[in-house]
Amino acid sequence: MDFSLSEEQRMLKDTVERLVRETYDFEKRQKIAASEEGFSRDVWGQLAELGMLGVPFAEEFGGLGSGGVDLMILGEAMGRGLVVEPYLSTVVLGGGLIDLLGSAEQKESLLNAVVGGETLLAFAHGEPDSRYEPAHVRCKAEKTGGGWTLTGRKSVVLNGAAADQLIVSARISGGHDDEDGIGLFLVGKDAANLKVHGTPGIDGTHVAEIALDGVEVGADAVLGTPGACFAAIEEVMARAIVMLAGEAVGAMEVAVETTVEYLKTRKQFGKALSQFQVLQHRAVDMRISLEQAKSLAVLAAARLGEPRAVREMAISAAKAGIGQHARIVGELAIQLHGGIGMTWEVPVAHYAKRLVMIDHLFGDTDHHLERFAALSDAAA
């Protein structure tokens, strides 16, 4: 067994960590998060320049052709800086789907534009009543003329308002929660009958509600084989969860470091808080959670390239576990800071918010506990 990073992975880690450290201080992050678009074109440009937007793709698209560990590394660095740039939506989800399903022309035009930082993507998949169920798609795709007409609603779409192109999942056949019968379609942001309503998220990211009221797209907008897209959807979600697990670990590291530092400096009753044993133990609980989360993230990252049955158990284990550990770390970080931890002005509160909100993306603890149990049954 070998837990060490390869030379390339170490370089990737150094590059992205330096970028975050040097250009993404907390104040700047807050400004970026509060901006209309919810991210910075400058930072995005820098990420593109450093080759970060191509990481998961093949070399011909300027990528490293790399897998889970790289995504985890990127996530960790971004978690440390609470980076809100649309990496998950554009590169991991959107780019990932094009990478897996796109035609040669689609890859040529879109992947290059994504890697170059010119095009932003969003994956419009969740629906108002789908909760976290990835097969649940009611949005309808009907064949009309040479193309398709899309009708339905999509909800809590990451960076949906900033995207130039949406990748919309829609049902072609089957019941609303069948894995078969789902198609994926590219929809430009200026499409007629498309309404995108963006809002900030409570953790500083941005999401959108989307209404498709008979949006017409041509045959060239179809991604992959209509009706047979579920496996790719599941796979990009697995990648997203690996990155998110890394992000949670990065954010937890900072939350633990900041809290430990605070306990050492804050004095009450003439002593540093760090001298109260009960607080030491609670800090230790945070540290234990961080370690567990890290292990689950590593496991999921390393299993990303394995066959579905193996991969998905690690993915659900990571997401279920991290949901619980991130809550422990987030809540204790606030509690141990006392009143100051409750304020907008201190970074640790925003780390706590992101940590808790990570549970609401791609399935929460309960969703993945159940899924893990089912996968485990099936494997037995």
Binding site: G126, P128, D129, R131, Y132, E133, S155, V156, D177, H197, T199, P200, G201, I202, D203, T205, V207, E209, K267, Q268, F269, G270, F276, V278, L279, R327, E331, I334, Q335, G338, G339, G341, M342, T343, W344, E345, A349, H350, A352, K353, V356, M357, D359, H360, L361, D364, T365, D366, L369, E370
Partner: protein, 399 residues
């Protein structure tokens, strides 16, 4: 043993219900039920309705205008208020400073301040905490120096809840910096917020709301008659206030109302094609907190019965504080899980009355995540839960 309420108590419950139905303004109730933001006038109108009924000072003895309720009636009253959707009663005037004035104030102070609290002429806020003095309140540094018939106050208070609305603040100040122990040399003083040199600055909490403030004192000249009791004896009064403050400490009424709301959400949300409330995992989570709340309510009632028959609660009130806040927090955690992905959108403007923008998600979703984060305060303020455990260990168990 009989765990049922007496016929008189049940009749009292009906009386409270009837009052709420006719006197709590509908718009305020709608705001509470919808998790909307309250403005000062909402609190004011509700307090006014209570005041006119003679029910505002529910802890007050009848000689000062209280209704003369026993602890069980106070409990029933609180529970009904939350169940119906009334705002919480702001404690700073009626339940905090008033008991101190009654017990330690002079006649002039009683005659002047108590009626003004009851008829809402003065809104109060609490100036205890300072940036360097939270859990260790006795280390406070804001100074009050006697000059003729005035005190000159300098320093900074913080975390002052709703100080932006207040007319008066009751403060702990240091009058003797050379006292042998930090607890000595502290005085309890009443300050008009409109005095020159008082500055209130907002602190925005992590969920984006303005609820607390910094209050700065820059050579603030306060008449010496605003001192309550004796100089340098403020710590005794402060402790009296903290131990006297029992209303709502257990959070039973608000937790019950929040649990009902949680169940309503879980009935509406769908998981795997069925109502979330039928999901085995989520069901168990709700059941667990409901049982915790039942145990907690019984503890509260046992303590109340004890108080009713003349006993004084010791470690029990710390237990009530800890469990009450943990349970309340757990319910808000389940609520944020219940709304699933819709916990994410941050729609601050949707909390305003009359918001007519585009709603995102189900109508109950907007305030849920914000409430979850805001409720983290419960285990920090009012003597943090760690401090309560220290108290139980030391005073309760003799450890």
């Amino acid at each position: 043993m009989d765990l049922n309420f007496t016929p008189e108590e049940l009749a009292f419950r009906e009386e409270v219900r009837t009052f709420l139905k006719s006197k709590l303004p509908d718009d305020i109730r709608a705001k509470i039920k919808g998790g909307k933001r309250l403005v000062k006038d909402d609190y004011f109108r509700w307090h006014k309705a209570l005041s006119e009924q003679g029910w505002l000072g529910s802890n007050w003895p009848t000689e000062y205008g209280g209704p003369g309720w026993d602890p069980v009636r106070k409990h029933i009253f609180e529970e009904e208020c939350y169940a119906y959707g009334a705002p919480r009663i702001l404690p700073f005037g009626v339940n905090m400073v008033a008991p101190v004035i009654m017990k330690f104030g002079n006649q002039a102070q009683k005659d002047y301040y108590l009626p003004r609290i009851l008829d809402l002429t003065d809104w109060w806020c609490q100036g205890y905490s300072e940036p360097g003095s939270g859990s260790d309140l006795a280390s406070l540094r804001t100074s009050a120096v006697r000059e003729g018939d005035h005190y000159i106050i300098n320093g900074q208070k913080t975390w002052t809840t709703l100080g932006q609305h207040a007319d008066m603040i009751f403060c702990l100040v240091r009058t003797n910096p050379d006292a042998a122990k930090p607890q000595e040399g502290i005085s309890f003083i009443l300050v008009d917020m409109n005095t020159p040199g008082v500055t209130v600055r907002p602190i925005i909490l992590l969920e984006g709301e303005h609820e607390v403030n910094e209050v700065w004192f820059d050579n603030v000249k306060v008449p010496a008659e605003n001192l309550v009791g004796e100089e340098n004896k403020g710590w005794t009064y402060a402790k009296y206030l903290l131990t006297h403050e029992r209303t709502g400490i257990a959070n039973v009424g608000s937790s019950k109302a929040a649990l009902l709301h949680l169940k309503a959400i879980a009935r509406d949300q769908v998981k795997n094609g069925r109502p979330l409330i039928e999901d085995p995992l989520f069901r168990n989570r709700i059941a667990k907190v409901e049982i915790d709340l039942m145990a907690h309510e019984m503890t509260n009632l046992r303590v109340l019965a004890e108080v009713q028959s003349g006993g004084a609660p010791g470690l029990e009130s710390s237990i009530l504080k800890i469990r009450g806040t943990e349970i309340r927090q757990e319910i808000t955690d389940l609520a944020r899980r219940a709304i699933g992905p819709y916990a994410m959108p941050f729609q601050s403007e949707a909390l305003d009355e009359g918001f007519n923008g585009e709603p995102v998600g189900p109508d109950y979703a907007a305030p849920i995540a914000q409430q979850y984060f805001n409720m983290r305060k419960l285990s920090i303020y009012g003597g943090s839960n760690e401090i309560q455990k220290n108290i139980i260990a030391k005073a309760g168990l003799g450890l």
